[in-house]
Amino acid sequence: MSKFRITVLALILVVMAACSDQQSNSRAEQIRKETNEIIVLRFATWDSGEALEIQEAIAKKFEEKHPFIKVQLEAYGDEFDQKLAAAFGAKNPPDVMYMWNFPAYFQSLEPLENFIRRDPAIDLNDFYQGLFNYSTMYRELYGMPAGFTTRVIYYNKDLFDAAGIPYPKDGWTWDDFRSVAKKLTNPATRQFGFGVRPEPDTFDLQGIVWSNGSSFISEDGKKIDSYMNSPETIESIKMFADMVKEKSAVLVGGKNQQSGEEFFKKGKIAMWESGIWPLEKFKKAKVNFGTVEMPAFNGKPVRGIISSSAISIAKDSKNKDVAWEFVKFFSSPEAIKMRTADLPVRISMVKELQTDQDPLMGPFYKMLERANATPAYLLTKNWDEINRNLSSAINAIMLEQDAEELLNNAVIDSEKFIGQ
């Protein structure tokens, strides 16, 4: 009997080797041969709603191709960090997970170098190279790019039309932005040109700070004085507080406040700065809107920030080879095509689908070309501590307090975390 089974298995393997490419003749298949039982692969994600459904579909497709693997999708949602930390702490992490905060987790993740070297079929050059920056720690790659977004300005065409203002075009400046915002504001109808987050994520602000020729931290990660509190940094942050002060912008999305997206959907703000996330919601809400590149500071090039998600393998995973199969599938053209809630990470896919030709999508890719700087959290391991001071300062600035003094304070309070 067992002889018979081995023969059948051998036959299957021979047939597979004969009629398939290297993909199915991989290590994962060998594992199948060794164990001959169902392997459960745990996959943790922070997504919910539609994005989660897409991931379920991808997992199902993967299971079809590998009948011996069962993908167990664990949707941690808003408790992603809390649950992932608990899982790593208990030495019982998911095999595969979504990942962005590599500085915090990379020590618990499996470097992918060996898998990639063994798998010549995977073409790293097809990925937008900038994305690898976000999942590389100390020259080791810990995650395959899964999705990304850059940040653009959404604008409500109806409100522009009503005010008789032409739609903004790529290459516009913050001065243009501020004057347009002013024109689109009508306090009587509680309509504002722009929505400002009172407690913005400092990560998102970096693109704007970079565009003004500054940054929060030196490129070597050793200095924040005269970066975090440079005049250019101050200018770019103060600009939003000023807009709120002169009432061409309104504070949205604070605690117990409606989010900026709700304001934009209702036509209460004419412009909104964000990534790809709300695009589908706006479409669904039938908002007549357009997207445009971020504005530039006079005479300075616009620079972009990328919010990327990668997919990583836990160091403590017991099925790393199977996990790699899944990671590979997740960043394969087939899976990327299914992932409509994200921007494609493969250049060939963008060309094939002509995503960048879509007027709503185009600005995201233009911003991608402008994204070549490294965000602060990748430059120092103590960024969390520094960021607490920085964001406290920025929160206070948004409430119209003195920007220079606050940022100086933040630098003074944070110096102790630098260069440790």
């Binding site: 919910s48 949602g77 808003d78 408790e79 809390q82 649950k83 608990a86 899982a87 407690e199 604070g254 605690k255 117990n256 989010s259 607490r388 001071n389 964001s391 406290s392 300062a393 929160n395 206070a396 409430l399 307090q401 606050l406 304070n409 933040a410 309070d413």
Partner: protein, 564 residues
């Protein structure tokens, strides 16, 4: 009814098949019932014990889970309350942060809150009197305030706490229909911001409810949870009717005032033993069917053999002697059938023989009838001829007729079939006188008779046909010698009649005794007749035999038993 049972008694219980079925049933049922009931008793005892232990365990797990969640939330809230009541540790100068230090203070405090989260914690929030809150910004405080339970919260006194279930529809993000368990703890602090504030700790209750669902579905448990105010916070939907036989667990969490009440209907509690019982009964029923089928299968050929034997016997008794039973087996039934066949064959042969004898007798009677045509006329005529001859002095004719009359008299007498030998010999004397008158003194007659033989019986007219045969066929003009010898052998008599005439060849001898050659010319019929009559009277082992030497002599030999 009585009749019916009687009928059954008479009919069914007599049939071998029924007996066999009953026998099989009893043989199969006794051990089955015994072992079935024994194993049912034992295994149900064990299984019940295990299952009940398991149920006990499952129920205690629910208690445990609920208590753990409460305990966890309580400890967290106590800890945070402790921390907040120490003014040196926490400085919340402004309720809603506006300044750099304000933001830093609150960020630090929120970090402190976050640090208390465990895997299943959904949220930890400190909610101030005015409705501002600390904790992650997922909470939509307005929706929370609209929840029915929040009204109770406002009337909570220091030291009290509220625990209850609700859905996650007060969150900005994530699923809206997740069940959570929340604990509200009024902060015991009179300092500024914290005065009248409440701590809300929320834990994911999905797992708890899935466990409750498991108890409800798998163990058919009805679960009721009551909070400290004796309000029902959870009750199983579609509960079964409460019965006094239900198995009930009650638990009271002293610290939180909660009551947990779990009820499992008896039938489900002892479900496993019911299952075993059902299977045992099914096995017994199955065995009964199997046994019946087997009994029928085994008894049918047997009873069929007996039945066919029976019907064959009936046919034989009705007269059909050609009946034969096909032999199907080598067992006792086969042998019985074989013997039956042999017996029927013998009966058939016997009957054939008897009927043949009867037929021959009848023929002889008919023949005799023929000769009986008015013998009186013949005798009267002969007597008058005799008288006429005497008157005319024809002494010879008179003597001849006298002897002839004597012979005929014997010949035509049918009164006794068997007569003493001496009487037969007397008739022969008369016959010989007739022949002597006819031929003259041409032959010699020698009689050697053992005296004791004279009184034994012999069929009438047994000898005369033989003498006639001698005169007609053996002698020429009555010349020759005749010797008659009768001897007594043990058990039978032997008569030998020898002549020294022409003798006979074999063919003639056979013809004399062959019934098919009793010709119309009358020749030989007498000899055959003699043989037949002896056989008819005494059986086939007796009879007449002929020996002859052609041209020399022939002799008839009669063997017959001693009868008197």
């Amino acid at each position: 009814m009585k009749n019916f049972t009687k009928k059954i008694k008479n009919y069914s219980f007599r049939s071998i098949r029924t007996k066999m079925v009953l026998f099989f049933l009893i043989v199969a049922l006794f051990p089955l019932l015994l072992f079935g009931l024994l194993s049912y008793g034992k295994s149900s005892e064990i299984v019940n014990k295990q299952f009940n232990d398991y149920e006990q365990f499952a129920v205690s797990q629910l208690n445990e889970q609920i208590e753990n969640i409460f305990e966890q939330m309580y400890v967290v809230s106590k800890d945070i309350n402790q921390y907040l009541s120490d003014p040196t540790l926490v400085i919340l100068q402004e309720e809603i942060p506006r300044t750099y230090t304000g933001f830093i203070e609150i960020k630090n405090f929120e970090r402190y809150l976050e640090a208390h989260k465990t895997y299943d914690t959904k949220g930890i929030y400190l909610i101030t009197n005015t409705g501002y809150y600390y904790g992650n910004s997922r909470l939509d405080i307005h929706k929370l305030f609209k929840k029915p339970f929040w009204k109770e919260i406002n009337s909570l006194k220091d030291g009290d706490l509220w625990i209850g279930f609700y859905n996650t529809d007060h969150y900005f993000t994530g699923k809206k229909d997740e069940k959570i368990i929340g604990l509200v703890f009024p902060i015991e602090s009179d300092f500024g911001v914290l005065k009248g504030s409440k701590l809300l700790v929320e834990t994911n209750a999905e797992e708890l409810f899935s466990y409750i669902g498991f108890l409800e579905n798998d163990l058919h448990a009805s679960i009721t949870l009551k909070n400290g105010k004796n309000q029902v916070v959870y009750k199983t939907k579609n509960t079964q009717k409460e019965l006094t036989t239900d198995i009930i667990w009650n638990n009271h969490f002293e610290a939180y005032g909660w009551d947990i009440h779990i009820r499992i209907p008896k039938e489900y509690y002892y479900q496993s033993s019911t299952v075993i019982l059902r299977y045992t009964i099914a096995a017994i029923l199955f065995s009964i069917i199997l046994v019946s089928v087997l009994a029928v299968v085994f008894s049918v050929p047997l009873t069929r053999g007996i039945k066919s034997l029976n019907s064959s016997m009936k046919r034989v008794s009705e007269g059909n002697l050609d009946t034969q039973i096909p032999i199907r087996s080598n067992d006792e039934l086969g042998i019985l059938s074989q013997n039956f066949n042999v017996m029927v064959n013998q009966i058939k042969e016997l009957i054939e023989k008897i009927s043949m004898t009867e037929r021959l007798k009848r023929q002889a009677e008919l023949k005799a009838f023929h000769y009986q045509i008015n013998p009186h006329l013949l005798f009267n005529t002969l007597n008058s001829i005799q008288w006429k001859a005497r008157l005319s002095g024809a002494k010879e004719v008179q003597g001849m007729i006298y002897h002839l009359t004597e012979v005929l008299h014997e010949n035509l007498n049918f009164a006794d079939e068997l007569i003493p030998l001496k009487k037969e010999l007397k008739t022969i004397q008369h016959y010989l006188k007739v022949q002597e008158i006819r031929y003259g003194q041409t032959f010699e007659y020698i009689e050697t008779i053992h005296p004791e033989c004279l009184d034994y019986l012999i069929p009438r007219m047994s000898l005369q046909p033989l003498f006639e045969n001698i005169f007609f066929h053996a002698f020429e003009d009555g010349r020759g010698r005749i010797e008659l010898e009768v001897t007594a052998q043990p058990g039978y008599l032997e008569l030998t009649l020898t002549d020294n005439g022409k003798g006979m060849n074999k063919e003639t001898m056979d013809k004399l005794l062959d019934p098919n050659h009793q010709g119309v010319n009358g020749r030989g019929i007498g000899v055959y007749n003699v043989d037949q009559r002896i056989r008819l009277h005494f059986g086939n082992e007796y009879g007449l035999s002929i020996e002859s030497v052609a041209g020399m002599k022939s002799s008839f030999r009669i063997k017959w038993p001693k009868r008197s």
